[in-house]
């Protein structure tokens, strides 16, 4: 009954937190939108059309990388970034579960209020 001992399954399971936190930023959302096309991009390509510096974009990419949403690969002297959809899908599934729970609670509330017989 220890919180500190994850089962092998939970150890493999990625946390949703960095995903939600990582997406709480407009620049990162825009980066994810661009990367989710499936193509690999260099930092220069990702900086293009942005008002931010290379350094700033790199920082945002590291946050996404930490959340497992972006993979960084080396090609010669260049770093290429690729999108990894898994954590986002997992986080989405999780929110959908909470969402469904609310659907059921609110349906019970609606029934509770509407089916009440007036005195």
């Amino acid at each position: 009954m220890s919180r500190k001992t994850p089962s092998s399954r939970s150890a493999r399971r990625r946390s949703h937190a960095p995903v939600f936190a990582a997406l709480g930023d407009r620049t990162r959302l825009a980066l994810v939108a661009k990367l989710s096309s499936g193509e690999n991009y260099s930092i220069s390509q990702l900086t293009e059309g942005s008002r931010l510096t290379r350094q700033a974009i790199t920082k945002h990419l590291r946050v996404l990388e930490h959340a497992g949403m972006v993979r960084c690969m080396r090609r010669g002297r260049e770093s290429l970034f690729a999108f990894n959809p898994e954590p986002l899908q997992e986080a989405k599934n999780y929110l959908e579960s909470v969402s469904e729970q609310w659907d059921q609670s609110l349906a019970r509330l609606k029934m509770f209020v509407e089916e009440e017989k007036p005195n």
């Binding site: 939600f20 579960s97 469904e100 659907d103 609670s105 509330l109």
Partner: protein, 154 residues
Amino acid sequence: MTDRIEKRIEIKAPVSRVWRALTDYREFGEWFRVKLEGPFVVGQTTRGQITYPGYEHVKWEALVQAMEPERLFSFTWPLIKSVDPANYSADYSTAPRTLVEFRLEKNATGTLLTLTESGFENIAADWRLEAFRRNDGGWTEQMKNIEGYVAKNS
């Protein structure tokens, strides 16, 4: 993709009636399936015990943030790491919390209720999200889906 949940539901009853169902602790307990020990008071924690069959060991608590009559009722509550009796801990002191807001508006049907839950970015990295507060068939099914998904993709 957003880190918040938003639900809108129309209820065929006056705003005052829905407000009471939300903020009277006994009425809240009826539909939410929790036996609460006392009323909701802004700035205070209301505690209770889940009444949903199979989850009666789970404690419920919420810290009331706002009660603006017939407009807004909000509270924060802890994310419960596991409701599985073998792993359950009733100590929520270090649990991350999300914010739940109920907003009420009068409309042609009666009441438009908007529910939001936000703050999921507070979930700490080592948390198992295997289970969560009250539970029921739909949730269990969903969890199986997630576990299946995770097993396939890890």
